[in-house]
């Protein structure tokens, strides 16, 4: 059989959910068989993804690759069409990687293992689906599909306020996704042809006003997911209540869906509107960075602290998207992958620490470093990664966004100056909250109260293994970013070119610029 023709994407997307359907029939007494089964499925799927990537993916190609399209409902012209390009490939691999590790991280889960692993596998499929589908309706369907497992995982296995958190999560995201549906339908019906195919939608020419409405609708939907302040308040609650594996998925992958969709739809399909609204995106990004960093600093709850740090890091994605430079865009994608890895590792470690201390309140911890030197070491390493230490992926991503935005010719000098200074203040704030956190958990004289109450054992090999797995790519991409950037470079290059061409044409036509009243905005690209 020709490996290049094998339907890799369809198989890998559907394998976890199919395997999950078999879970009720597996004989199992104590949940051990189930978890090994789930882990094996996850691993096989990840390996298949890697093989598929090696066999079918061309690093030089900028367009859609490994595409498959089957008619699903002929009458509706609904097609199962999947494919990957540079934007989705890294995230697809990330999904396989993090989801598999999240299943391994679920070892301590003993409550209702069948349902738990069923949902984990269902989520695996849903997440992959979001990144590979090339049909708007299918995308919407996948987007919704992945909500249900998250909702259930939150509301059954979460902390004390789990129902509140889960409800908030579903209301927010579902409310947001209504905007996707409306915008998708509007775009599909616009013009002479009715199509849901993403490629065809991107090729359509929409008038600017129409684009702006669509853009805002998408921005709200994806802004909830990313999240963009002030649409973020579901996140600290959801993250604060979730168990460690769910946490890893939320931070590692779910947030990236927002960034991915912004790139694919807002930037890719509505370039002119992006040209108009991008300055706002930069401002929101800066607000994200600083506001969330400050909130994180004041937080006394460990999970919420890290949750806010995620929000802060996502600000860089928005600025990268709005930089109109190849480097900035590249940095945004890198930041998504990088934060996926770093966020997952930090949340996993928070879970591991909680398993021992049984408290998330920082003032009740302290001085546990002596008893748990390995967790201490891993926590320190991952915090360093999160505060963008050179040699780790976070640094490269933030640096690319910084340089990309600073050298962007789309904004005026003053605007860039103020924004870059504010972004750089984030660089000071990040170590403040992360190092304070480390100090409050691990440093200081031994905590006698905690020692008497809890058994503080050090990390077990499984935990060390999970962190080691996450650190390999974090450090690998940090030392040699080309490992990752080459996967998507061709795509982002083409996307930037397309974007610049459209925005330039827009400026030449002298069309309206609704944001022109903002004194600092100057999305004026020089010609030539």
């Amino acid at each position: 059989m020709d490996l290049a023709q094998f339907p890799w994407l369809t198989v890998t997307t559907l394998l976890p959910i199919t395997a999950a359907l078999l879970i009720p029939f597996i004989p199992d007494q104590n949940g051990r068989t189930i978890r090994w089964y789930a882990l094996t499925v996850g691993l096989i799927d990840f390996v298949l993804l890697v093989i598929g990537f090696c066999q079918g993916y061309d690093l030089q190609g900028s367009g859609l690759q490994m595409a498959e399209s089957y008619t699903w409902v002929a009458q509706l012209d609904l097609r199962w069409s999947v494919g990957v390009d540079g934007l989705s490939m890294p995230l697809v691999l990330l999904t396989g990687f993090i989801s598999t590790l999240a299943i391994l991280a679920s070892w301590p889960v003993t409550m209702k293992p069948r349902l738990f692993y069923f949902l984990m596998l269902a989520m695996y499929s849903g997440q992959l689906g979001v990144f590979v589908v090339q049909d708007m309706l299918l995308f919407f369907f996948m987007w919704e599909l992945e909500l249900i497992p998250v909702y259930l995982l939150l509301s059954i296995w979460g902390g004390k306020r789990r129902l509140y958190a889960a409800t908030k999560f579903i209301l927010y995201t579902a409310g947001g996704s209504l905007f996707i549906l409306v915008a998708a339908l509007a775009m599909a019906f616009y013009g002479d042809t009715v199509t849901f195919d993403m490629g065809a939608l991107a090729a359509k020419d929409y008038p600017l006003n129409f684009q702006l409405f669509m853009y805002v609708a998408f921005l709200i939907a994806y802004g909830v997911k990313l999240p963009i302040i002030p649409l973020h308040t579901w996140l600290p609650d959801a993250h604060g209540e979730a168990t460690a594996p769910v946490h890893m998925l939320l931070a590692g992958i779910l947030l990236k869906m927002g960034g991915y969709a912004l790139l694919r739809m807002n930037v890719g399909m509505l370039p002119e509107a992006h040209g108009v609204i991008a300055p706002l995106l930069v401002i929101l990004g800066v607000v994200n960075i600083i506001y969330a960093a400050l909130t994180s600093f004041a937080q006394r709850n460990l999970k919420r602290k890290i949750a806010y740090s995620s929000i802060s890091h996502m600000g860089f994605v928005m600025i990268g998207l709005a930089s109109f430079t190849n480097l900035g865009l590249s940095g945004a994608v890198l930041q998504m992958v990088s934060h996926g890895l770093i966020g997952a590792s930090l949340f996993f470690l928070v879970g591991a620490t909680y398993d021992r201390t049984h408290t998330l309140i920082l003032s009740e911890m302290g001085g546990v470093g002596k008893k748990m030197p390995k967790i201490f070491a891993m926590f320190t390493t991952c915090s360093m990664a999160s505060l963008a230490l050179p040699g780790m992926s976070g640094f490269v991503a933030e640096l690319m966004v910084f340089v990309g935005f600073a050298t962007s010719d789309a904004y005026s000098f003053n605007f860039k100056l103020i924004m870059v200074i504010l972004m750089a203040i984030g660089v000071i704030l990040t170590p403040i909250y992360l190092l304070s956190m480390l100090r409050e958990i691990f440093y200081g004289p031994e905590n006698k109260e905690l020692n008497e109450k809890e058994v503080l054992i050090d990390a077990e090999p499984r935990e060390v293994f999970i962190i080691a797995c996450l650190l390999v790519p974090i450090i690998g991409f940090g030392l040699y970013p080309k490992l990752l950037t080459q996967v998507y470079d061709a795509t982002t290059l083409q996307l930037t070119d397309h974007l610049r061409e459209k925005v330039l044409a827009l400026n030449e036509n002298g069309s309206i610029q609704p944001l022109a009243w903002l004194p600092l905005t100057a999305p004026a690209l020089p010609r030539g």
């Binding site: 190849n326 200074i421 403040i432 200081g444």
Partner: protein, 695 residues
Amino acid sequence: MESIEAIYEYAWLVPVLPLVGAAIVGTGLVSYSQTTSTLRRPAAVFIVSLTGAAMVLSFLLFFSQFQGQEAYTRTIDWASAGDFHLTMGYTIDHLASLMLVIVTTVAFLVMVYTDGYMAHDPGYVRFYAYLSLFSSSMLGLVISPNLLQVYVFWELVGMCSYLLIGFWYERKGAADACQKAFVTNRVGDFGLLLGMLAIFWATGSFEFDVMGDRLTELVTTGSLNAGLVSIFAILVFLGPMAKSAQFPLHVWLPDAMEGPTPISALIHAATMVAAGVFLVARMFPVFEELETVMTVVAWTGAFTAFMGASIAITQNDIKKGLAYSTMSQLGYMVMAMGVGAYGAGLFHLMTHAYFKAMLFLGSGSVIHGMEGVVGHDPVLAQDMRLMGGLRKHMPITAITFLIGTLAICGIPPFAGFWSKDEILGSTFAVSPVLWGIGWLTAGITAFYMFRMYFSTFEGEFRGTDKTIQMQLKREQLMAMGASLGPGAMNPQELTLEESTHGDGHDDHHHSETPHESPFAMTFPLMALAVPSMLIGLVGTPFANYFEAFIHPPGEELSGLAESAEAFDWNEFLIMGGSSVGIGLIGITLAVMMYRTRVIDPAAIATRIKPFYQLSKNKWYIDDIYEVVFVQGSRKLAKQVLEIDVRIVDGIVNLAGFVTLVTGEGLKYLETGRAQFYALIVFGAVLGLVLLSGVT
């Protein structure tokens, strides 16, 4: 010829060798902590020999450069996006090869010393891993070919410093100090990053000479305002300000002494803190064209030199005293850079690296000896009021410490004289006022260093004096109470201190008198004494081999003969004589106050109380920062959180509540049935699709 090329091709091994050591031992510590921790000696030998190999390679490179080999640069494409490329690699030129030699020799000797100093510490192996990691980052920094790579390693050495200051993480002081060091350095890096980005925006390059050339061109053609360029350069200078502990970002360095003494010698005296000076040297092509920037640099250095010295006078903790002295000496180097004395600044960097490393290691030896008497309590073991008369018990430490003291005081022919004199000479030519500050500081330096020497090594041994011990403990408790504030005082901590204090009395009473340290510790002291005495001779004004080798990039090589010709005996005698003179005055004062005790220091302190308090309280800068920045940022963060919880989230919850009360959503929310919701959405989609199919 081929072998020489080969050296350069493998020059990347210099930083990589220690990195390999750190990586292997570090991995071992995390994966097999029990086994690795017991393999103390093998791990140490492994890491020390890798550093030794790096040292040999550095010497080979240095000699090759000294013989006139061309500078060698190799880069690889590191990150790229489209036609945009960032490169990384290494450069071996005169400056880099010199720095390699300084860093590897000090690192090697400090590692040997560590074996003795940390012999009884449970974290022995971990300490070696950190030391090795630091050496690697520092070596990577000095061979960086561009500003971006400097920034990368700049942050890495900062992280190593963080890890090493916080090495004894159970100590509250260490925990606070390491965070303070990292955050203060990040403030500097904030400027460095901004400056770097701005210069890149203007010139499109991170290469030092290209940046300098293009900026000059842009300014002369008028396409860029010179004031703006100066702001960029000053932003870059914020980085060195933090790393080299220059006012106002110096606050972290004295606190960093909470770390073990070997790292105080290696990182916080000889190498990392000098990185700031090194960066200014690398940025010289950019800085030298901008007069404002040079003035700012020079004045920052001069002010820091004076301030550090003025604080060092009243310190009783031997390491804190040396820390302020380091800050002051770094001020000299920065001032030298600011007045354009490129060679002199780097010359002082080199001499200072050796004699200050020796002084710190000497202080470590003293502390090691004191711990045998007063127990493992930094409050007691490091306070000079408990020392005295140690020369009889620790002769090698005393002699080497005296050599270091003479070197830093600028007494010929010791190393410090030549470099400091050259700085003062060059400064006088530019600004007599700056020279005056430097000259005065030299006197204060001589005074406080001899105060330190006499209180430690001469007179009667006071280590067993219970009343002084009690007084010190009381002072510490009061200081802790004050720093925490009455409300925030943690009673557990205070009682804990009391109990260890009790232990110190009963259990750790090893002996009545301190002992000389083991050979592993005295050997590095003796080895460092040699350059502290002699290395100044390579840079005498009548035969300045140093300046012939190290000169600003772009400047024509002024030969040895030329510098000898330009040499003027008269000028040398006046300049050298005046700086030796004020040094001797300082020493005489110290002799009268702390040796022969003709003058009572306490009486003077009460007479000039405001000045004494200013010095003793470190110019109140820590207190000001505490109120303005630390508490300020906490308050701001709290307020933002309040807004987030009450307003942003409040609106959401209110909206939820309203729908809850009014709508049919009630049923759905109560049962929380997601499936029901999914069904609705799916139905809606299907309906819309059908609808679209019909029309």
